[in-house]
Structures are given as structure tokens and as C-alpha cells.
């Protein structure tokens, strides 16, 4: 089996020093993916032939001195809810069986323009609805640290691919924590940028006002590099922010002296949280204080309403976004439909899994006549209060630090019988999506051999500060350098 891959920075240096070629890197990634597939099931499909051709093109460019940037020739993976022209996209759902997109997502275009080589599509919870990949129609992915446990979700496949050293960079999407939570479960860095920083054109929509694409990497420095390629205004996405993108790598000064870290008291309540998680997070904060940061207690008073708010807004938007999956123009169509109504109902019922159906039903219900004001509109109002919480708290501190999840990665099957119990595990992550603020999870310790994640959240458009704090922490600690055991 090929060795686990290094960081993006290490690979880039190796390519520059001609110690390795892009073709070799891509071959290694493909081989390792294949070798680990039975254990991890991180991928739903590879694009070996095209990847190899792109790798060779990158090597040819490098030979001519025409390197496109830090991602040129680097093997990467993308979550299978990002469309690529000429490639299948399944969203881990039977309803998109056979679907091949005729167009590229904007981030795919950006990655390719940067010379990155997409080697495959990673597993997810169906339509990004879930926290474990157990809702995938094609089987769950597994945590490289303990394959009886989930790698988290919904971007579990991408997290596993990076954590297991298959690729140095994988893309995920985060609607209620689907990048940050898997990053915490697998001991890597996972970032959700400010809402609108990264184009959603070509990201199969789950909840439009909450979805954001973001990178999984081993280090904050790598995340900064990746974000420079991913972020930026896109005229094809009306929710794409026009603000210019800073050079995030330049922000990594390693200096946090005088920086104020807010600790929201609502996130540090003992009840419902593994004490080992709290202890790790406190230790991480203490480390940052040693580096010169200050802490203060802040309050995000509406935290406990976040899940309720999220599980009204997200399913509502999803119920409408998923109406297009009707068997008419693409995807699964039921056989021998008696009439149009039959075609719709059977195609959708055969194609969607139970969690997706559940959320569509919930969403349809809360938007329906008579319930809209009490449920959907109410949730939108609470959302305003959550936004204000963050604005007010962040007026008095530079970043907010919390645990990413209340516990370490749970075992497969442990929560899948009880949807509500699964939803409640998102308690620390949903608020950032509702408020639109950026958030990142970085590894900060272990418990029972499983990684623990520290979450940092910041002001809108201030990913640079989050990355600076994360990078500073990583200069002083080595949690991020730990690797899961190689399979026997």
C-alpha cells in the first residue's frame, strides 16, 4: 500500500523540487484509494484515466516553467454533490442514478484552472442530509481511526480521504456542520467560509441559505492555500459576495498576542457533553493564552434554539430544492407509470431514502398554508436573533472558541434509529450556518483513541483571523500531525 500522503505544502515542495511528479502523486492517490476502499468506503467513484491525463499535462506545464500555482498537479477529491461536466454526480442517492452533468460547478472550474487534479468523488449522506454518511444509498464511510465508527457527516467521505492520507485536500459542503463535524471526528482541519464566499453554482442545493463549500486539509496553512483558489465572486450565483478575497496565506503570522478569544458560556455547559471533550478544548484555549491571546466569557443566549431553528429552515428549503427530482428530465424514473401523478410519486419514493423523505415531508409541512407563520416565519425570526447574538459577542472579541461536537465520533448504527437524537448532535455547529459566520474545526486532542475538535468562529469575512489562530495553535502543538493507524 502506498504511504499516506503529506500536506499540501509538502507535496507542493516535492513537486517544485522535482522529487516527485504529478503523475506519480495521482497514481499513488488512486492506488491508496483503491486499497483502502474496502475498509473506508470513502469514494463513490474515481476518474482515473482523466486524472492521469491531467497529471501529465501538469507535469508538462511544470517542465516548461508554466506552473499555475500551489495546487498545480495536486491530487484532490470532491464531495459527490458537486457537478463535473462529463462525470456522474449521485449525491449518494438512487434518484440521480445515471445522471451525468453537462456543466462544471464553478469550484470545479476554479480547481482545474489552478491545475488541481480531481481523482474521485467522495461519499456523503444522501443530499447532504445527515451527520454520519449512514444515509448514503451506497453504504456508510468509516472513520480511519476506528472503522466501527462514523467519520461524521454529511461530508464523511471527504474527511476520511484526507484523514487516511489518500489526498491532501478534499472538498465538502457544510449546511449545519457537515464539514466541521467530520473534521472533528477524523482529526483534521475542516473550514466553512462565510456564507457567500464560495460560489454555490454547481453545488447540488440542500438548503440554499445555509449551504457553503469548504476544504478539508491536514493544516490551517493548507486550508488558507485552498481557500485562495475556492473563494471569490461568481456572477452565476446571486448569493455570491462581491467582496475581494484576501491572500489568506499572508495572514498566517503566527502571532495572536492581544487577540481576544470569546468563550460562550452556553457551549460549555457540562450536561450532554463528554467531559474529555471539554477538557481538551479548555487545554487548547490555555495553549493559545500562552501564545499571548486573552480570553473572556461571552454569551450567545439563543444557542439552545439553534437546532429547532435549523431543522425548520433547512428542511423547508430542501423540500423545494428537491422538487426538481421528478423523473422527467434526468435521474431515476419509475417503470410503467400509469399516468403523470404515478410517475412523480413512484419515481420520487423509489429514488429518495428515508431521511430525505422525512425532511421533505417536514419541510413541506412547515411551509404549508396555516403553518407557515408558526413554523417557518418564526424560525426566520429566531435566525435574526441568532445573528444578533454573534454580532454582539464578536463586538467584544476576535474569535469565538467552542467544542465542535459534544462527543467523539459515535459508532455506526448508534444513532441511526432515532432521527431527532442524530439532529441534536449538531448543536454546536448549526448556529454558524444560521448566522452566516465562518467556522473552522481543528484537532485539539484525543479520547479513547478518537480525535477531538476545537471550533473557532469569527466575524463575517474574517476567515483570515480564524486561520491565523488555527495556524498559531498548530505551530505549538502536533495533534494535526497524528495519523490513524495504517490498516494491517
Amino acid at each position: 500500500m502506498t504511504a499516506p500522503v503529506g500536506t499540501l505544502a509538502e507535496l507542493r515542495a516535492a513537486l517544485e523540487a522535482r522529487r516527485v511528479s504529478s503523475r506519480e502523486l495521482v497514481d499513488a492517490a488512486l492506488a491508496r484509494a483503491q486499497a483502502l476502499e474496502p475498509k473506508l468506503h470513502a469514494f463513490l467513484g474515481m476518474r482515473a484515466e482523466r486524472a492521469r491525463a491531467e497529471a501529465e499535462a501538469s507535469d508538462a506545464r511544470r517542465a516548461k516553467g508554466e506552473v499555475r500555482g500551489p495546487l498545480d498537479g495536486i491530487p484532490v477529491a470532491i464531495k459527490d454533490n458537486l457537478v463535473q461536466r462529463g462525470e456522474p454526480t449521485t449525491c449518494a442517492s438512487r434518484i440521480l442514478e445515471g445522471f451525468v452533468s453537462p456543466y462544471d460547478a464553478t469550484i470545479v472550474t476554479r480547481l482545474q484552472a489552478a491545475g488541481a487534479v480531481i481523482v474521485g468523488r467522495t461519499n456523503l449522506d444522501e443530499f447532504a442530509m445527515g451527520s454520519s454518511t449512514e444515509n448514503s444509498a451506497f453504504g456508510p464511510s468509516r472513520n480511519p481511526w476506528d472503522t466501527t465508527r462514523t467519520p461524521g457527516g454529511s461530508s464523511g467521505g471527504s474527511a476520511a480521504a484526507v484523514a487516511a492520507g489518500i489526498v491532501p485536500l478534499a472538498l465538502g459542503s457544510d449546511t449545519g456542520g457537515s464539514i466541521r463535524q467530520p473534521a472533528a471526528c477524523t482529526g483534521i482541519v475542516g473550514m466553512k467560509p462565510t456564507y457567500g464566499r464560495v460560489s454555490r453554482y454547481g453545488l447540488v442545493a440542500f438548503a440554499s441559505s445555509l449551504d457553503q463549500i469548504g476544504p478539508f486539509t491536514r493544516t490551517a496553512a493548507d486550508a488558507a492555500t485552498a481557500l485562495e483558489v475556492l473563494c471569490g465572486h461568481d456572477p452565476f450565483d446571486s448569493t455570491s459576495l462581491p467582496e475581494p478575497v484576501p491572500q489568506f496565506s499572508q495572514a498566517l503570522t503566527g502571532d495572536v498576542s492581544g487577540l481576544v478569544i470569546g468563550l460562550p458560556k452556553e457551549y460549555f455547559v457540562a450536561e450532554g457533553v463528554d467531559p474529555a471533550v471539554l477538557a481538551s478544548v479548555h487545554a487548547a484555549v490555555a495553549e493559545l493564552e500562552k501564545a499571548g491571546a486573552k480570553t473572556r466569557e461571552v454569551s450567545l443566549p439563543h444557542t439552545k434554539y439553534g437546532i429547532a431553528c435549523y431543522y425548520l429552515i433547512a428542511p423547508a428549503e430542501a423540500s423545494s430544492n428537491l422538487a426538481r427530482y421528478d423523473g422527467v428530465r434526468y435521474g431515476h424514473r419509475a417503470k410503467d407509470a400509469a399516468n403523470l401523478s404515478d410517475l412523480y410519486c413512484r419515481s420520487r419514493s423509489e429514488g429518495f431514502g428515508p431521511e430525505v423523505k422525512r425532511r421533505i415531508l417536514l419541510g413541506t409541512y412547515v411551509l404549508s398554508a396555516g403553518y407557515y407563520d408558526a413554523y417557518y416565519r418564526k424560525a426566520q425570526q429566531v435566525r435574526t436573533l441568532l445573528r444578533r447574538d454573534f454580532e454582539e459577542a464578536l463586538a467584544g472579541c476576535d474569535v469565538i472558541a467552542t467544542p465542535t461536537t459534544p462527543e467523539i465520533a459515535f459508532r455506526l448504527g448508534e444513532k441511526s434509529g432515532d432521527p431527532l437524537r442524530m439532529y441534536l448532535s449538531d448543536v454546536y455547529t448549526v448556529s454558524a450556518n444560521l448566522a452566516g459566520v465562518p467556522g473552522v474545526s481543528i484537532p485539539c486532542g484525543f479520547h479513547d483513541g478518537m480525535p477531538i475538535g476545537l471550533q473557532l468562529m469569527g466575524r463575517t469575512l474574517d476567515e483570515a483571523t480564524l486561520l491565523r489562530v488555527a495556524d498559531t495553535y498548530q505551530r505549538r502543538t502536533d495533534w494535526h500531525a497524528r495519523r490513524p493507524p495504517e490498516p494491517a
Binding site: S101, Y201, G202, A207, F236, S320, L322, A323, R324, R329
Partner: protein, 487 residues
């Protein structure tokens, strides 16, 4: 029908869907085309492919503002796009992007002209709202194309529409027709739509209810959808009035329903009733942000607006000295008004041109069911024809006979006059001879004229005109006869 109308008052509100004449669609940059092969004008957005997103067309917004200003609406600087959710094969996303609680325009009006007892009168019809939305695609049921199924073409899906909703201020099919004509004229004059009904660019839904005369509460209304000609609108309204009156007379209730009109059978049928109406679950579209328009932009559009029909009307009265009535008739369509102005400029006497247009040209157009810009008549040609009459080179009557020909085939009036041998007879010898003959053949009439009955001259003139094949100048004929009779 008149019995019905004695007993009941008809209440009509109209919803019009108008295609905006943009080059690309409302939320995608697919081209707007008519008559193309299926799905030859679609992008991922039009097909609702996974991951596709809407981006608003700036021109469509400008057109919506123009339409709002032209109908005296309040144009709102803040409006919101909402999703109207339902399932239908020609609706690829499973929802239509429209506007619901916060449309771009509200509170406007337009005036229609009605024939009243004391002459034409103006009636103001309120416009509740104007909002922007995307059109759906088309389903083709032709067996040759789709066998036992239907074929779906999404070329039209996403084309920008304005939905214009009137207050229930209309009281008859005739008023409804007048409203639609006026609205169409306004929209064409501000250049936001061709509003060609045959191409489906101007479609009407008619809401009709009855109430007993004297009652103030509204009756239950029905909605007849997708009427795409003025005739169909009037027919469908007529059918509904009769049908509802019959029900009410029998003591039954009108059931709220959506109907479709079949022009082939001249009947309406129920599409769905209120009981199985869809719950559209409107909510603000999270893929779009609110439409915020700078008030300065609204002002700019107002300033740059092309002249509206009623402004043109006022100007025709003051600038050309036309009567109110004549001015109104000439400004019913922009094409007609433009034609008049060009002809008047070429000729020099607007009143004369107006008379000829209102009498002969409009008559010929009506007979042929044509609009003026669908004919071969040129403004310059009309002016030239009138000058021939002015110079007595052709009689007015001959000239009038030429109008239909010019309309159908175009051409140069002078050449036509020559070809047809229509030159006015001004040869006094011919007129003299004819006059002598007529006087000789009508001694009694001649005597009556000499006795003081001046008017009898007309009858004698008529005979002389006939003898000269209508080509003699009436003035010359009159003078000659009078001279000869007075002796």
C-alpha cells in the same frame, strides 16, 4: 343577456401575463426565441439541473419599472422574489420564481374609453399590482410527436413575464376588451413587449362574478385562464355570465373554480375547483436576494420613458389642433400615431391628413382586419395622394377609391392615377357639354333652381359627375351649372 344584466351586475377582474421583449431569459442567459426546435434554447438553469442557480436580468427589471410608471403604479424600491411550489412537467424546478407578498409595483390605473349616452366617456380601471415572474415551458400533446404521452419543450421556461392584475372594476365584456386594448397599447408604446397575442405574448385570465344590482358584496368568482385573443376574452366572459346567472336564478351557488375556454367548441370546462386547489407554499427564494432599486434609477426611467398614449393624445390636440375625439382615435396605437405624424409632416395640413386617416384609412383597415403597420401604405404616399386632391389633379372621390389599393399593394399615387386614367377632368369643354345635357334633361329641376331652391343643384351635380365618370372637379361642375342655370 339583457335580462341577465337588468337583474345582475357583472364584476370582472383581469390578470394579464405579458412577455417582456428581452434578449435573454429572466434568470438565465438562455436566448428568448420563438418557434425553435424543442430544447434548443436552454441552459442548465432552464433545465433545473442539479446545482443550477438563478441570476436576475437587469433589462427585465427596467421593463417592469417602465410598465409600472406607464400605468401610474407605485414602483417599490424593495421587492422580493418568492417560490410558488407545484409539480408540472413544464415547470422544471417544481416551483416558479415569482413575487408574492412584496411585488415590484402596486396601486396603479389606466383609463378606458367607453361609448356613453352623451358620447364617449372615460372610465378609470385600477391596477392592483404588477409583478415579475418566469414563464413555464410547453407540453405538446400532438400524437404525431408524442404518441400517447406528452412532449415537454423548455425553450419558453424562464422567459420573463409581467403579471398585471386589475382591480375588479370592469363591468362588461366590452369594458374588459377596452381595458385589454388600452393596456396592450400602453405596453407597446413603452416598448416593453410586442404583446403579440398570436405568439402568446399577451395572455389573459378573466375573473368573473355576478351580484344582484344594488348589492355591494362580491359574489363568488370563477377564473377562466389563458385567453389569448380579445374575441376569446369576450366570448368566455359571456359564457360565464350566462352560466352563473342561470345558477343564481335557480337558487344555486356558484362554485369557485378555474376554467379553461375551448375556442373550437366555444365552451368552458372546469380545470380544478377550490377544494383540490394546490397549496403553493410561497416563501422568499433563498437563491435570490431582495430586489433593491435606487429611487434615482426609477426617476431616470420615468424621464426616459417613451411618450405614453394619453400624453400623445394631449399633444395631438394642442400641437395639431385636432379634436379630443380625433386625437384619441389616432393614438389608439403607437403605429397609427406615428404614421399620422409622419404623414402630417409630409403633407403640411394635419387636420386634412387626420380626416382622411380617420375616415378612409381606418375604414379600409377595419374591413381587412389589419393594423396600419401590416399594410403597404406609406405615410409619404398618403400625403402625396392628398396633395393631388388639393391640386385638383384628382377628385376626392377617385382618391378615396385608391386608398384600399394603396393599403393592399402600396405604390406611388401619382403613377396610379395616371395608370387608371383617373386624372380629374378639368377640360371645360367636357364639363360644359355634360352640364348642357343634364340641364336639358331635367327642365323641372332647372326651374326649381332658378326659382331659388339652391339645394337642387346637388342633384344636378350628381348627374354631371356621373356623366364625367366622377372625374370632374366638383367645384368646376358646380360653377359651370350655376352659371348656365342663372343664364
Amino acid at each position: 343577456m339583457s335580462k341577465v344584466l337588468e337583474k345582475y351586475e357583472v364584476v370582472i377582474g383581469l390578470e394579464v401575463h405579458v412577455h417582456l421583449k428581452t434578449a435573454s431569459k429572466l434568470f438565465s442567459n438562455a436566448p428568448v426565441v420563438y418557434g425553435a426546435e424543442p430544447n434548443h434554447a436552454v441552459t442548465p438553469v432552464c433545465l433545473a439541473l442539479p446545482g443550477s442557480l438563478p441570476v436576475l436580468n437587469a433589462k427585465a427589471v427596467e421593463f417592469a419599472i417602465r410598465a409600472g410608471i406607464a400605468t401610474h403604479c407605485e414602483v417599490h424600491p424593495h421587492s422580493v422574489f418568492a417560490r410558488k411550489n407545484y409539480f408540472y412537467p413544464d415547470l422544471p424546478k417544481g416551483y416558479q420564481i415569482s413575487q408574492y407578498e412584496e411585488p415590484i409595483c402596486t396601486g396603479g390605473w389606466l383609463e378606458i374609453e367607453l361609448e356613453g349616452k352623451g358620447g364617449p366617456a372615460l372610465k378609470r380601471i385600477g391596477i392592483t399590482r404588477i409583478h415579475m415572474e418566469e414563464d413555464a415551458g410547453k407540453s405538446i400533446h400532438d400524437e404525431a410527436v408524442a404518441g400517447t404521452g406528452s412532449a415537454v419543450d423548455l425553450n419558453r421556461a424562464g422567459v420573463p413575464l409581467l403579471e398585471i392584475v386589475s382591480e375588479p372594476d370592469l363591468r362588461s365584456a366590452a369594458e374588459a376588451s377596452a381595458y385589454l386594448r388600452t393596456l396592450r397599447s400602453i405596453l407597446r408604446s413603452v416598448d416593453v413587449s410586442e404583446a403579440d397575442m398570436e405568439k402568446g405574448q399577451f395572455r389573459c385570465d378573466a375573473n368573473v362574478s355576478l351580484r344582484r344590482r344594488g348589492e355591494t358584496a362580491f359574489g363568488t368568482r370563477t377564473e377562466t385562464k389563458n385567453l389569448n385573443s380579445f374575441r376569446f376574452v369576450e366570448a368566455a366572459i359571456g359564457i360565464e355570465i350566462e352560466r352563473q346567472a342561470k345558477l343564481l336564478d335557480a337558487g344555486q351557488r356558484v362554485i369557485q373554480a378555474t376554467l379553461l375556454y375551448d375556442p373550437g367548441t366555444n365552451k368552458t370546462r372546469v380545470m380544478r375547483t377550490k377544494e383540490n386547489a394546490d397549496d403553493y407554499r410561497y416563501f422568499p427564494d433563498p437563491d435570490l436576494v431582495p430586489l433593491v432599486i435606487d429611487p434615482a434609477e426609477i426617476e431616470r426611467v420615468r424621464r426616459e420613458l417613451p411618450e405614453l398614449p394619453d400624453q400623445k393624445h394631449a399633444r395631438f390636440v394642442s400641437e395639431y389642433g385636432l379634436s379630443d375625439y380625433d386625437a384619441r382615435l389616432l393614438t389608439t396605437s403607437r403605429a397609427l400615431a406615428d404614421f399620422f405624424e409622419r404623414a402630417a409632416k409630409a403633407h403640411g395640413t394635419p387636420k386634412s391628413v387626420a380626416n382622411w386617416m380617420l375616415r378612409d384609412v381606418l375604414q379600409a383597415l377595419k374591413e381587412r382586419e389589419l393594423e396600419i403597420d401590416q399594410t403597404k401604405l406609406e405615410p409619404g404616399a398618403l400625403a402625396a395622394l392628398l396633395r393631388l386632391v388639393d391640386d385638383a389633379r384628382v377628385t376626392a372621390k377617385s382618391a378615396r377609391d385608391l386608398v384600399p389599393e394603396l393599403i393592399e399593394r402600396g405604390g406611388d399615387p401619382a403613377a396610379l392615377v395616371r395608370e387608371r386614367g383617373l386624372e380629374a377632368v378639368s377640360d371645360t369643354g367636357v364639363i360644359d357639354a355634360a352640364a348642357d345635357e343634364v340641364i336639358a334633361a331635367n327642365p323641372e329641376m332647372a326651374a326649381r333652381y332658378r326659382a331659388g331652391e339652391d339645394k337642387i343643384l346637388n342633384a344636378l351635380m350628381g348627374q354631371v359627375m356621373k356623366k364625367t365618370g366622377g372625374k370632374a372637379s366638383p367645384a368646376a361642375v358646380q360653377q359651370t351649372l350655376a352659371r348656365k342655370l342663372r343664364g
